[in-house]
């Protein structure tokens, strides 16, 4: 579950290069949100990546749109509120299919709405831009889902995808 982005002189990529990656920012010793970042990492790599997949339990059924991790729980049940509602971090992603989730950047959620959160609004815009480009590339078959449904590849079978 990763997007490979090579050097490219577009505005989006210049912005991307100047930003520190999400987990290198928050999942570091001494950072007050280190444990939260580790929780999110585990949710993505183990719970979604290995155990359950990117099912509707974790993702809303929306297309053409970046989503937030951790997901908001669909049921209002005490035990499943902690990561979904009160969680201070948000990481943007795009569910291509149940086996492929592309992770973008994220940050601290400072207000109720993502767009009002200074730390998140531009990253959400970036994520949306990437989602649009990925969707267009999939539709034009410049990139496609691998035969085993586990990763994205170029039309010629190579896996370094340059946006």
């Amino acid at each position: 579950m990763a997007a490979s982005v090579k050097d490219d002189p577009t505005t989006s990529n210049r912005r991307l290069r100047t930003r520190k990656k999400f987990f290198d920012t928050y999942a570091v010793s001494e950072h007050p949100l280190e444990e939260k970042a580790l929780q999110l990492f585990r949710l993505i790599t183990e719970s979604i990546g290995n155990r359950h997949g990117a099912t509707d339990d974790f993702f809303a059924r929306i297309v053409n749109r970046a989503q937030e991790l951790p997901p908001k729980p669909k049921q209002r049940v005490e035990e499943i509120k902690d990561l979904g509602i009160n969680f201070p971090l948000r990481l943007f992603c795009y569910r291509v299919i149940e086996n492929i989730v592309i992770l973008f950047n994220g940050g601290i959620k400072e207000s109720q709405a993502t767009q009002e959160s200074k730390n998140l609004s531009m990253k959400f815009y970036d994520a949306q831009t990437f989602v649009k480009k990925i969707e267009e590339a999939l539709q034009s078959e410049m990139i496609k889902i691998s035969d085993d449904g586990r990763y994205l590849q170029n039309f010629d079978g190579t896996t370094d995808i340059i946006p």
């Binding site: 990656k21 580790l38 509707d56 049940v77 005490e78 035990e79």
Partner: protein, 137 residues
């Protein structure tokens, strides 16, 4: 190729954090499964999860009582899983030659290292029995 960051995080995540998140996700999936399959209300679900009637309204109102974290820490200390969520498979039952066949997955947990004070456990890899008949119920 896996990044250095992924390797670092895989190696540095505390066991209780891993368990906490695993349980959280399993609960999300399990609760959705139950609600979907049995068409039951949240109140009924609360009762099925052994909540006392007096706790139900508080439980449903969303007031905090994070016992999941303390259970995760306890499980890490004991070295044994305290809860287990069966993974539902789409094809668990089928009819063949006039027989109703059910497919079961059996999982056994074995503590491989007793010298580590029970702080770690290893899940054996799932294996499918070779004998097809051994799985028919």
């Amino acid at each position: 190729m896996r990044s250095k960051t992924v390797d670092r995080l895989l190696n540095s995540t505390p066991k209780d954090v891993e368990i906490f998140v695993d349980w959280y996700a399993d609960l999300v999936v399990r609760i959705n499964q139950l609600l979907r399959e049995n068409d039951i209300s949240k109140k009924e679900l609360a009762e099925k999860m052994d909540k006392k009637p007096s706790e139900i309204s508080k439980w449903l109102s969303g007031e905090h009582n994070f016992t999941l974290r303390s259970l995760a820490k306890l499980s890490a200390e004991l070295g044994e899983p305290l809860i287990e969520v069966p993974k539902r498979k789409a094809q668990t039952e089928f009819v063949e030659d006039g027989f109703r066949c059910r497919v079961h997955t059996f999982v056994s947990y074995t503590n491989l290292d007793t010298k580590t004070s029970g702080k770690f456990w290893q899940f054996p890899e799932e294996t499918e029995p070779n004998n097809e008949l051994s799985n028919a119920g």
